[in-house]
């Protein structure tokens, strides 16, 4: 590996998703947070204040980069311009992990900026495996791929999401970011057993875990990332830590972002589970 600029090059414990409203607090108080996750798509400009702030954070904390722009599940070719900019960002910030989702966000070069589902088939398994391999080759490093939450099934689907993830792990050497909240949301929306899902995930591939809050709607759970983590998700998290070990875990909060104290209280709960179970 090339010479590294930053001293922190690994993550452990419970990190926080860093949002712009928290920067000042982090700069002022230097909180004792083991690591931060930054949304790569917010730092893709070649300069500007966001990247300067991110670099300042990076001096003191290990970080991971998490994106939604790669559109791994799209039929469109991979966006090389996006990957180039991501690569430049990776070189600049030296994240411990770089992750994106099993989803598509664009079609015919038009972006939806949201994670959309695709049918799980032998063809899409091959197609997406190839794209993961291409992206990893281009970036010159491994990716973590995250399970999305979903609100629909396709007639064309031939396998379960966990079978699809098993297939991805067989045909690529990418690792996994398992979102416990997403598993629970999809399980409730589609009527499968979240524990069965969890037990089917190749444990040696899981490098990061996400936790977040959903919103209960009349007929489904909606993954807003705008609430505290709900009790059944904590229970599933416990099972995950039991199975995977003390995997670095992130509290994600994207809408109605609370103050930093509330975020840290959530992290503390996760830490307690991690220490108790692992």
């Amino acid at each position: 590996m090339n010479e590294r600029r930053f001293k922190h090059q690994s993550i452990a414990g419970v990190g926080l998703g860093l949002r712009s409203s928290h920067y000042q607090e982090v700069f002022n108080t230097q909180p004792d947070v083991p690591w931060f996750e930054l949304l790569s798509d917010n730092y893709m400009a070649e300069g500007g204040l966001p990247i300067l702030r991110a670099e300042k954070i990076r001096e003191d904390y290990p970080i991971t980069l998490h994106g939604v722009g790669m559109s791994l599940g799209a039929a469109d070719p991979l966006n090389i311009d996006y990957l180039s900019r991501l690569k430049a960002l990776v070189n600049r910030l030296e994240p411990v992990y770089v992750s994106d989702h099993l989803a598509w966000v664009s079609t015919s070069a038009h972006y939806t900026h949201d994670l959309l589902p695709f049918p799980y088939t032998e063809f899409t398994l091959k197609h997406i495996s190839e794209r993961i391999n291409q992206a990893q080759e281009f970036l010159g490093r491994e990716l973590l791929v995250e399970n999305p939450s979903s609100y629909l099934n396709f007639h064309a689907t031939e396998m379960s999401e966990w079978e699809f993830i098993q297939g991805i792990c067989k045909s690529t050497d990418c690792n996994l970011l398992i979102d416990i909240n997403n598993i629970y949301v999809s399980a409730m929306n589609h009527g499968f057993d979240p524990y069965e899902y969890l037990s089917a995930i190749p444990a040696d591939r899981v490098k990061e875990i996400h936790l977040a809050g959903y919103e209960k709607m009349e007929h489904y759970l909606f993954d807003t990332h705008g609430y505290q983590v709900h009790p059944p998700v904590w229970a599933l998290y416990q099972a995950a830590i039991k199975r995977f070990g003390a995997i670095p875990t992130l509290i994600e909060w994207d809408t109605d972002i609370p103050d930093f104290t509330t975020l840290r209280a959530e992290a503390l709960k996760a830490e307690m589970i991690m220490t108790e179970v692992a």
Binding site: N42, M44, G69, A75, Y82, Y111, H113, D114, P119, L152
Partner: protein, 302 residues
């Protein structure tokens, strides 16, 4: 292997390739149909996208599409609200959301980065009939977009003579542009070359010219503003420079006519001589001095 079996192997491979291509096209069609049902919802597009989806009694195919539509429009509207907070304040959230839905149809997002989306919102607002009475709204949106651009603009390279030559050589290899030099090099420019100097304005800078007092409108709608809320449109036009200074951070400067023309000339890449001939030679030296002192101009080429 016989010729026959070779031939059938080739046929099999060709068939496999064709099938893969067909499957890729089928995936593309599914995604395009889905996109249409989200951004251009009507009976036909929704019906088409529904054919792929498993519906249930509790949630029909159409309900499930709506969950995604609300999520997508909500996310994009939140992104644009972050870039255009004053416009949202001026028209209200509901109205803004409605406007965004129309904007999305006409100007789809072409970048994975949501922060790149919104450039054409001022144009859309200007021709958005229901907002016609808010004559200043489009220009306020221009000001907010300029602010957003300046916030995210690349930082000025600290040009030493060495870095100036190495960093910019690539560019000058493509275009016959002369090298950028730091202002400290001005002393070495021969006097008869002065008219050929091109001063470079920092890359975060953009100009706004409006018939309405958009700066004042923008100011009174900032969260930390303490003062009277009323703005009279009779206050008249605004000529503004939006930029980011290394020393002072984000800035909106009100300009007079001379300053505006001068900076406009620089942004268009005109030489000092050209600008001086075009207008206002008497004020030029003073304006240039001010631009340099503020840090708006940090380099030049000859």
């Amino acid at each position: 292997m016989t010729d026959d079996s070779l031939q059938s192997l080739e046929q099999l491979q060709a068939l496999k390739q064709r099938t893969a291509l067909e499957k890729l096209q089928a995936l593309k069609k599914l995604q395009d149909d889905f996109y249409q049902a989200i951004f251009h919802p009507n009976e036909e597009t929704i019906k088409q996208a529904s054919t792929y989806i498993v519906g249930t009694d509790a949630l029909t195919e159409e309900d499930r599409l709506s969950i995604y539509r609300d999520s997508i429009l909500g996310g994009i509207t939140a992104g644009l609200t972050g870039i255009f907070p004053v416009c949202v304040k001026l028209v209200g959230e509901k109205y803004f959301t409605h406007m965004v839905a129309g904007y999305l149809k006409e100007y789809p997002s072409g970048s994975p980065d949501l922060g790149n989306y919104g450039e054409h919102l001022p144009t859309y607002i200007a021709q958005f009939k229901p907002a016609k009475a808010l004559v200043y709204l489009s220009d306020v949106a221009k000001l907010e977009w300029a602010w957003h651009q300046a916030f995210n603009a690349p930082d000025e390279h600290d040009l030493t003579v060495d870095s100036a030559s190495s960093e910019l050589e690539v560019e000058s290899a493509l275009k016959p542009v002369s090298k950028l030099k730091p202002l400290s090099e001005l002393d070495h420019v021969a006097e008869d070359s002065f008219p050929d100097i091109r001063f470079k304005v920092v890359s975060s800078a953009s100009l706004i010219s409006s018939d309405y007092p958009v700066h004042h409108i923008w100011q009174v709608n900032q969260n930390d503003y303490e003062g009277g809320q009323s703005v009279s449109l009779d206050e008249g036009q605004a000529k503004l420079l939006v930029w980011r200074s290394a020393d002072y951070g984000m800035r909106v400067d009100a300009l007079n006519e001379n300053e505006y023309r001068f900076i406009e000339g620089l942004l268009e890449g005109k030489t000092f001589g050209y600008i001086a001939e075009a207008a206002y030679p008497q004020a030029l030296g003073e304006i240039l001095q001010r631009c340099i002192q503020m840090g708006l101009i940090q380099s030049f080429s000859v």
